[in-house]
Subunit: 320 residues, 2 copies
């Protein structure tokens, strides 16, 4: 195959659109796709301040890199989740990227500042902290963005992430979640910052290709706590389908956003009017104490019990 | 494992409900499941006449066998689709079953009576006749049932079939089809007979186990025209998910029928009020000429062209 733009031998194939690009033209194609999404869905403007949720992985660093190259005012933010070696290495990758590109990286230290880590948040049923970890991230990215006056939080969710989430919600018919899944989550409260996913139409292998070609040094391994997570099984399944029907993943997600979502009636509350402020932290919530504060209490109790038994430093949570 | 009922060594495991049965108790469990569905969803009563859509495969023969054993007035109907050896063998299995159990088997001969076969109905895009074959079956089962005064048409669709159809409709977000998928399709016109799927909560391997234990002689091979069909890819995918999460298929389908379907708004016409009678055949349709009559015209033209080239008898359509 040859590059769709310059006819040189191609390096990256985009099977769903039957095109391919060479390593010189590919980054421009990638950034054009991101720019097009930002503009088309009015995610943010050039005069607004963007906070990029950075994990040290390929997607978030590719997003940050792209936004900087496109000339946006995009700072990064990293949360030290306390997942032993994995957290240490991903923090180092995030800091190195910020330094190399002369960008600001905000940090929150979960254990140091809040007294617990993600390994203290294991779900009793699944044995995994993934759902709780999602709450931790949403809370702190939003809080820092609101406190420091950012207009929008941008996350690196790609097509594979979003399709897998949709797949899980469809397999369990979580109609409430289905109605809320999207690429732009508008602000419905003064302290709830707008959330956007500029990469949501780009496949995981496409963000990986971008990161490799742009020589972005990212953490290769998956989070050790996510091993065996359902979302990974869903990704495998969708990849198998994609092999048989190139573009299936894209059509599934984009078809949902265009047709399915509008057709799904969601129950639940009216977010905008039912929100109040958490009596402890002041963040928006529908209850007395917000979900994060309740979870953090349980996490701190677990961390304290562990410290009493094994000493103040938690043992590494990884099993490799 | 031991039989859930008599504690003898078990032969058939029902993973989603973590039970198992021996070969003696299993058929009773299977028939109880079918009876329970018929009653719970008021599919039909004992004083009504049921027409079973028979293909010669395990599902339709297992359904017919079950209904006869449960004491229902259930006759069979077989359509000679003209798929060479496959049709010949499945017709022979259907006739043998009817004879062995002393039941009535109606037949429609597509080539003899209508001048075309399913191999004349290849879709130009997919290269397969599966969608058209579905129209042929729906049309003739309904027509014979209406003409002969049956109260209901029962098909052998199992959990795997229904989950795969749902999966395909979800992957493409066919919201119209989604809103209409169900285990009971009520009659909305005097000439449209009620359709029911009494096996829709039983997995393919469960109907196969029933057929084997009850010594039902069915056609083992899949239809040669369906090779490579998308529905088979969807089945593989759902089976992979089922391996990881036993019961996933059942929860996906039943969750949809309980939660998802009600949440999906369907566009489209109001079937009951928009139906008129086809100007040629008199069957219910929304247009001037019904979809079947239009398709049959194309099929006959294809069959005539083929006969002109190769002589009156069509060459076998199988590739093995």
């Amino acid at each position: 195959m040859r590059c769709h733009r310059c006819r040189a031998p191609a390096n990256v194939e985009i099977r769903r659109s039957r095109t391919a690009y060479c390593a010189r033209c590919y980054p421009d194609w990638f950034r054009f796709q991101v720019q097009e999404r930002i503009d088309h869905e009015r995610m943010f403007r050039r005069d607004q301040r963007v906070l990029v949720a950075v994990s040290g992985g390929k997607d978030s660093l590719a997003l940050w890199h792209t936004l900087v190259k496109l000339g946006y005012r995009a700072d990064g933010m990293y949360i030290r989740l306390g997942i032993a070696d994995y957290s240490r290495r991903s923090q180092q990758k995030s800091e190195a990227f910020a330094e190399k590109h002369g960008q600001v990286l905000h940090q929150v230290d979960l254990e140091g500042d809040y007294g617990f880590g993600v390994p203290d948040l294991l779900d009793t049923r699944s044995g995994k902290p993934c759902a709780a970890c999602g709450t931790v991230k949403r809370y702190h990215f939003n809080k820092v963005a609101a406190d420091l006056g950012y207009d929008v939080v941008a996350t690196g969710h790609n097509l594979d992430d979003e399709a897998a989430t949709l797949f899980g919600n469809v397999m369990h018919w979580n109609t409430d979640y289905l109605g809320r899944q999207g690429s732009v989550l508008p602000s419905t409260h003064a302290k709830l910052v707008r959330k956007v996913k500029p990469l949501y139409r780009l496949a995981e292998r496409e963000t990986a290709a971008y990161a490799i070609i742009e020589r972005i040094d990212y953490i290769l391994e998956e989070c050790p706590m996510a091993r065996g997570a359902k979302s990974l099984a869903y990704k495998d399944m969708l990849n198998a389908l994609e092999e048989e029907q190139p573009g299936a993943k894209y059509r599934f997600l984009v078809g949902f956003l265009k047709e399915g979502r509008a057709a799904v009636r969601t129950g639940g509350f009216d977010q905008a009017s039912d929100l109040r402020e958490c009596t402890r932290c002041g963040q928006p919530t529908t209850g007395e104490l917000c979900a994060y504060c309740r979870m953090a209490d349980r996490g701190r109790a677990k961390a304290a019990a562990r410290a009493a038994r094994y000493g103040p430093r938690p043992a590494p949570a990884e099993d490799d």
